[in-house]
């Protein structure tokens, strides 16, 4: 018959807590032992102990150099257990200053004998804190500390597991990734991947993933590392095999995905296209657990985001498109939870805490996969769009869901909007532009607004039936406002959208654009550091200045500023592509009846045109010649005077010289121009 401590407990615990403060090391040790038995396993006790302020005393013991190492080990055991409690317990420990003490102790710890047990416990403690995700990330690691940590990571397995976990959770910035690799982290990880103990391999995989993410240099280094004669990517393929635990397969697949996206492995590498992709698709199946399906789908979306080959392969692997549809309809059973012992990646482990969010996670993941699959290939897009609940899900998610799911919905919509057919049909049937405009006007999330504006761009293409309705919603004013935003992606999309809007638009639309944008803003955009924005602004001008009547009216109001802008571009340091656009605008202006005079009266511009006709760049020559051609066009009023003036300046002679050109395009333009001359 076992005797149990009963109501005596409260008194009993008070006694041993008091004894913690005793100077008698024997009593103190006993008290710490009792404390250990009390807190291990019990969340309530952990909380209670922390509340009683005992942590301070425990840290004191660790820091005291004269105290026995066995006592310190016991204290570290208690702290480790406290760190494994609720996140707020770990946070309280960090606040009390636990981390610097642990690092300091790790450095000064003697090696061998009881020192190694102490080291082990210190590492366990660090690992438990980092796993809770509440350790503040340092901007950069202390180099010496990092090196010694890595040294500890080679032996024994318990230390290996701890070090790998610490690095996996702590490595968050580019700089840290570099530091880790430079300190020998890649070699350590390669070694750990080959450990016979799966408890070591899994955190090693997470560590690898954390190191490679979005880092070209680090990824290329890691991809060439090897251990035991096998290269790291091959080791990863081994860990992705079907007889491995699910969380390990997923972690290995993620590592390979990140290596590919960072450029270390190409899309046609068989390990990527024939192994990683299949593993991820397999894990999306209906009979798998929710956390697995979500993680796999998210990783798959990232894997196939860019390469058309991967998109095509994925789209025909194992009914993937159909499987994703299941995600959109899934419901989570009430007693769901992530099985114990499963180790989800450090980045996403917390998001599965609340099962009621799982359906939304599923929807987000599926939308991302669809967004990636449909990014480039029209066939795939058409198949995706046939998914029965997709459009409704997108529309509801745009308005009602949390920001990450909204973003996924917009990305999906963006991919679909790259299809002309879809623009004309499905995207008209489901009124997507309305919630999209709401998102644009109300969201503070820069990424969300950028992708939304990009989508809006597509919806504003000439053949899109939504165009008129969007205009009615004050889109012009809104987009002009967006051109003033600091984020270059947003500015670009806004100008691009305006450019699309102006294409073959009615006069009132063009007037509206010029009115809301203002010539000042146009100048600013033409001086933008981002050349793409510049190009699209020029494209906007070009679209505005099309159709004779419009050209004349616009030049009448804004002619002076527009000419100034064009001269600015022609005189500035710009690529040939940019100058070509400017010349095309001039050519359009030259098409206007009244507007022609803006050019003819400007000798400087005429001289520039003549220069461009002889510059050794065919495209620029063609553009300049075309402009001249418009100026002298026979049919129009005043053609004779213009021809005389230009002839006097030497244009006729120039054209004659150009007849010797070998370029057929230029030849045609020159011939046409010459034919106009009387």
């Amino acid at each position: 018959m076992e005797v149990l401590p009963t109501c005596m407990d409260v008194e009993h615990s008070r006694v041993y807590i008091d004894q913690l403060y005793s100077n008698d090391s024997q009593k103190c040790f006993q008290a710490v032992s009792e404390l250990k038995f009390a807190v291990i396993g019990s969340v309530r006790e952990k909380g209670s102990i922390i509340e009683q302020g005992v942590v301070v005393r425990l840290l004191q013991i660790l820091r005291a150099p004269e105290l026995d190492i066995l006592l310190k080990t016991e204290v570290a055991t208690v702290l480790n257990s406290l760190a494994k409690g609720l996140p707020e317990h770990a946070a309280a420990l960090v606040q009390a200053g636990l981390l610097p003490v642990l690092w300091e102790q790790l450095e000064s710890c003697p090696s061998g004998g009881s020192g190694s047990a102490y080291t082990q416990m210190l590492l366990c403690c660090l690992r438990s804190i980092y796993r809770q995700g509440c350790a503040p990330p340092p901007p950069a690691w202390d180099q010496k500390l990092l090196s010694s940590l890595i040294q500890h990571g080679y032996h024994p397995p318990s230390n290996q597991e701890c070090v790998a976990n610490i690095l996996a959770h702590a490595c968050k910035t580019n700089e840290q990734q570099q530091q880790l690799v430079d300190a020998g982290g890649a070699d350590l990880v390669a070694c750990l991947l080959c450990s016979p103990v799966s408890r070591v391999q899994l955190p090693a995989l997470h560590c690898l993933t954390a190191m490679c993410f979005n880092n070209e240099r680090v990824s290329s280094i890691i991809a060439t590392k090897s251990y035991g004669g096998k290269a790291v990517p091959d080791l990863l393929v081994g860990l992705m095999a079907r007889d491995r635990p699910r969380d390990m397969q997923l972690a290995a697949a993620t590592a390979l995905t990140f290596l590919h996206r960072a450029g270390a492995l190409s899309a046609d590498d068989p390990r990527i296209i024939y192994k990683t992709l299949q593993c991820l698709v397999r894990m999306c199946r209906r009979d798998r657990e929710v956390w697995e399906r979500v993680e796999a789908a998210n990783t798959l979306a990232y894997l196939t985001e860019v390469s058309t080959d991967l998109q095509r392969t994925a789209a025909m692997t194992d009914h993937l498109i159909h499987t994703m549809n299941d995600y959109l309809k899934d419901t989570t059973p009430p007693n769901a939870s992530v099985p114990q012992g499963i180790s989800v990646s450090p980045v996403s482990c917390r998001q599965y805490d609340n099962p009621s969010t799982w359906p939304e996670l599923m929807v987000g993941a599926a939308l991302k996969v669809y967004a990636s699959l449909g990014a480039n290939d029209e066939d795939i897009r058409q198949r995706v769009i046939k998914t029965d609940v997709l459009m409704n899900t997108i529309v509801t998610s745009l308005s009602a869901a949390s920001p990450p799911v909204q973003l996924a919905a917009v990305r999906c919509l963006h991919s679909l909007s790259r299809s002309v057919h879809t623009l004309r049909t499905t995207l008209q049937d489901h009124v997507v532009w309305r919630p999209l405009m709401t998102v644009l006007k109300t969201s503070n999330n820069e990424e969300l607004v950028t992708v939304s504006s990009s989508t809006l761009c597509n919806l504003l293409l000439e053949f899109s039936p939504s165009k008129e309705q969007i205009l009615d919603q004050g889109a012009v004013e809104f987009l002009c406002g967006l051109t003033r935003r600091p984020h270059p992606g947003l500015r670009l999309n806004a100008v691009w959208a305006l450019m699309n809007m102006a294409f073959q638009a009615e006069h009132r639309v063009k007037v509206s654009i010029l009115h809301h944008l203002g010539t000042d803003q146009i100048f600013r955009l033409l001086s933008d550091t981002d050349v793409h924005i510049l190009m699209k602004t020029l494209g906007l001008l070009r679209n505005l200045l099309s159709t004779k009547g419009h050209i004349d009216q616009i030049m009448q109001c804004h002619g002076k500023e527009i000419m100034q802008a064009i001269i600015l571009i022609l005189e500035g340091e710009h690529s040939a592509e940019v100058k070509e656009q400017a010349l095309c605008i001039l050519a359009n202006i030259a098409d206007g009846d009244i507007a022609k005079s803006a050019i003819m009266s400007n000798e400087d511009v005429l001289k520039k045109l003549m220069n461009y006709m002889v510059i050794p760049n065919v495209k620029l020559q063609i553009a300049a010649t075309f402009c001249i051609s418009n100026l002298i066009w026979n049919v129009e009023e005043g053609a004779a005077e213009r021809q005389n003036k230009l002839r006097e300046m030497g244009v006729y002679k120039l054209l004659q010289n150009l007849m010797t050109t070998t370029d057929t395009g230029l030849f045609d333009k020159v011939k046409t121009a010459l034919q106009q001359f009387h």
Partner: protein
């Protein structure tokens, strides 16, 4: 020699290696006859298992389950090296002995002293151990202590973690019966329940010792057999079916 045999649950369980459910197979309803029983047995007898392999399986079982003396003797008699230093079994043996004597609190203290992370990392196991403490108290009729223990240690856990509530309720329900072992929840009092917890704890300790396998390979083999039979049954195949694993009795499946 220990008379207690750890009971394996003979229910449907999947193999340790992952097998994907095949979604595309359409089974015929008429059922297929594999072959005659005599032919089947003849084919089976042609299978040759090496003695050395059998010995390894037995050694694995003994070591996993903590039968140290038996393992030492077997190692000599069968001339086979044990897979690890047998002194490492001592701690698991001590803990299992404590459990077999119903001393769960003692067992928990021993585990904590040796592997302080186990009970924090395996909250299900911890709950089962605590549940077992409760069961032992109820078994001995120490009703008041049982209620206090439940209040002190298990109530708060139940609040945080709804998945254990069901089990907790079943356990406490035993208190309502004069003769709990005849109650609908009497299975909790059965020695097999103790064994389940003992095995769970044993597996956790093996994991903490960085062992990759935590259940005896013999158990895995039997599970494989059961699984294979189950799959054949699903496809309505007629074959000689092993009805009794212990006796190896085979019957024609109708």
């Amino acid at each position: 020699m220990d008379s207690d045999i750890s009971e394996m649950s003979l229910g449907q369980e999947f193999m340790r290696t992952n097998v994907d459910s095949d979604t595309d197979q359409s089974g015929t309803n008429e059922g297929v006859k594999a072959m005659e029983t005599s032919e089947w047995l003849e084919e089976t007898n042609k299978m040759h298992i090496h003695r050395a392999d059998m010995n390894k399986l037995i050694m694995n079982y003994l070591v996993m389950e903590g039968f140290k003396e038996a393992a030492e003797k077997f190692s000599i008699e069968a001339n086979i090296k044990p897979p690890m230093d047998l002194d490492q079994l001592d701690e698991r043996i001590r803990i299992r002995t404590a459990i077999q004597n119903g001393q769960f609190q003692e067992a928990m203290r021993m585990v904590t002293a040796l592997h302080p992370e186990i009970l924090d990392d395996n909250s299900q196991l911890y709950f089962h151990l605590q549940q077992q403490v409760l069961i032992e108290l109820i078994r001995e009729g120490r009703v008041e202590e049982a209620v206090v223990y439940a209040q002190d240690h298990l109530a708060e856990r139940g609040q945080r973690d709804p998945s254990i509530l069901n089990e907790l309720e079943r356990t406490l329900a035993l208190l309502a019966f004069d003769q709990p072992d005849t109650s609908p929840f009497g299975d909790l009092l059965h020695p097999s329940h103790r064994q389940k917890v003992a095995s769970e704890l044993n597996a956790a300790i093996l994991r903490a010792q960085n062992q990759e396998e935590t259940t005896p390979l013999l158990a895995e083999l039997l599970k494989l057999l059961l699984w294979a039979q189950d799959e054949l049954n699903k496809k309505k195949v007629q074959y000689p079916y092993m009805t009794d694993l212990i006796k190896g009795q085979i019957e024609e499946r109708k």
